[in-house]
């Protein structure tokens, strides 16, 4: 089984987010980058497939050389090989087309990507890849078992869950539940050493035109100062919620 895990290189969840002086872009200064948490659940699930069912794992990122430490980390966690498509990930459509091209050429059985990335939160890439390649698609996936050419999956829906079946090849938009938080792997020294000698293949991108263009970035308006209410006067909170905030 050949598994392709798509990895987005994103600011660490604790990062304070700032934009450049002209508000045209994200300011990367002083920001630590990590594997997108939604992708990391898929990566760990893929490592289990490798350990229990002998899968071959390739990790893929669309980005410039600055993302290579993130790919090396994925290799240290257990991926066998990495591919970097050397391009600026200008929008989701552009990235999805690059991933689809790599996936098609490599004839992967399973394509795992996070349901969304925590930087641009588009939530578009896995569904687009599936549609471009005409493969079945399961989004918001919280459980997956694979035997032979069939996958049994659980996906989150509004107010519940659905159990679905699909044949491989398949595209999955993953999240927590594919594995649990406690199951996530931290690279050990042996993994880090091995990762240095694993293949990291840098490829030229396909000629694709993006479908969107980004304008100004802004930060949320600051909240006005909090109104503190005495713990012995809870009725006052009810009054404020009704008369001032008008939410009850």
């Amino acid at each position: 089984m050949k598994v392709l895990v798509c990895i987005s290189h994103v600011p660490d969840t604790t990062s304070k987010i700032n934009f450049t002086a002209d508000n045209s872009a994200f300011d990367k200064n002083g920001v630590q980058f990590v594997i997108n948490p939604y992708d990391e659940f898929g990566l760990t699930r893929a490592v289990w497939l490798k350990e229990k069912q002998g899968a071959q794992i390739t990790v893929l990122n669309v980005g410039r050389a600055e993302t290579e430490p993130t790919l090396r980390k994925a290799l240290a966690i257990g991926a066998d090989a990495a591919i970097r498509v050397d391009a600026d990930p200008s929008d989701s459509f552009y990235v999805a087309q690059q991933i689809a091209a790599v996936a098609k050429e490599g004839a992967y059985d399973l394509i795992l990507a996070g349901r969304e990335s925590i930087d641009y939160n588009g939530g578009q890439v896995p569904g687009m890849v599936a549609s471009i390649l005409n493969l079945p698609f399961v989004n918001a996936c919280v459980g997956m078992e694979i035997s032979d050419n069939e996958a049994s999956l659980i996906r989150e829906i509004d107010g519940g869950k659905e159990k679905v079946k699909a044949s491989l090849p398949l595209v999955v938009g993953g999240q927590k539940g594919l594995v649990e938080e406690k199951d996530l792997r931290i690279p050990n020294m042996r993994g880090i050493m091995q990762a240095r000698s694993k293949a990291l293949d840098v490829r030229a991108p396909q000629e694709i035109a993006a479908k969107t263009s980004t304008g100004a970035f802004t930060k949320p308006a600051p909240k006005s100062a909090v109104k503190m209410i005495d713990a012995d006067n809870v009725a006052e909170l009810v009054r404020l919620l009704h008369e001032e905030a008008k939410v009850i």
Binding site: T13, P126, A130, D158, T214
Partner: protein, 322 residues
Amino acid sequence: MSVLVYLENWEGQFKKNTWEAALYASKTATMQGTEAIGVVIGDINESAEDAGKYGLSKVLHVNDAALASFDANRYAQAFAHLAQENNASTIIISGTFNGKALAPALSIKHNAALLSNVVDLPTNVSPLTVKRGVFSGKGFNDLSSTEANNIILFVPNSIPLEEGSGAVSVESASFASADEKTVVVESVDRVKGKIPLPEAERVVSGGRGLKGPENWTMVEELAEVLEAGTACSKPVSDMDWRPHSEHVGQTGIAIKPNLYIAIGISGAIQHLAGVSASKTIVAINSDAEAPFFKAADYGIVGDAFQVVPKLTEELKKFKAAN
């Protein structure tokens, strides 16, 4: 030219969320000088004529066995067909779980730009420009389309619901099912009596300060009197005190209810990212230095085990009197 909107139903029922999408579509259509058409899929237990109250000009009802359960590719195929038939250049979809799966597939089939995580009505129609949330609630970005066909996937609770009058005609419509790679739904497990978080107008949320899963009864009681959904912080879901589906924050669900009450949650930056779009935030915490008080509108420093039952009582009194 027209605007097409997905009028989603859940087990045959429409929700507030459905009508928010209808209103979003009719307002967008007005901006573009055109009409908005609703699309209903599958068996429904109530009439779709109500869509007229939100400004739609008609509703198309597709009831095809091939669409009995949700599949992103097959639904996308149906929408692409209807969009073409109705000369729709803009399609509006609410960011529900199925909406989020449908929109990307449809964008490929309809050769459209997808503008997702949109938090308000379009700010411009030519080129179509929207305000979208980025960095998990820590920022916003103006995004413009470079295409003639567009899909807007908006975040539920983005626009206030206004109800007009009138009813629309509901016409049945069909689509030619082509060979699609689909998934088969084997079983559905819905949690009964719970308000799904993305659409909840009020949310009561608990953190580690509640000390253990056995103490959630008071959270649920407060939620019940408020008709609110229940949520939790990441550590609480990681420790399995509460299901993952209740985890709100940067790596869980991002919500924007009118009222968010955080009980025993310190207010880590990752948690605030997912809830800061709430209109009114109340923080209840025993630690006066908890960062949540900086992000809240109202705060109470106190023991949750004392404050929360009192708040529930006061709200019951308020409800009885109003």
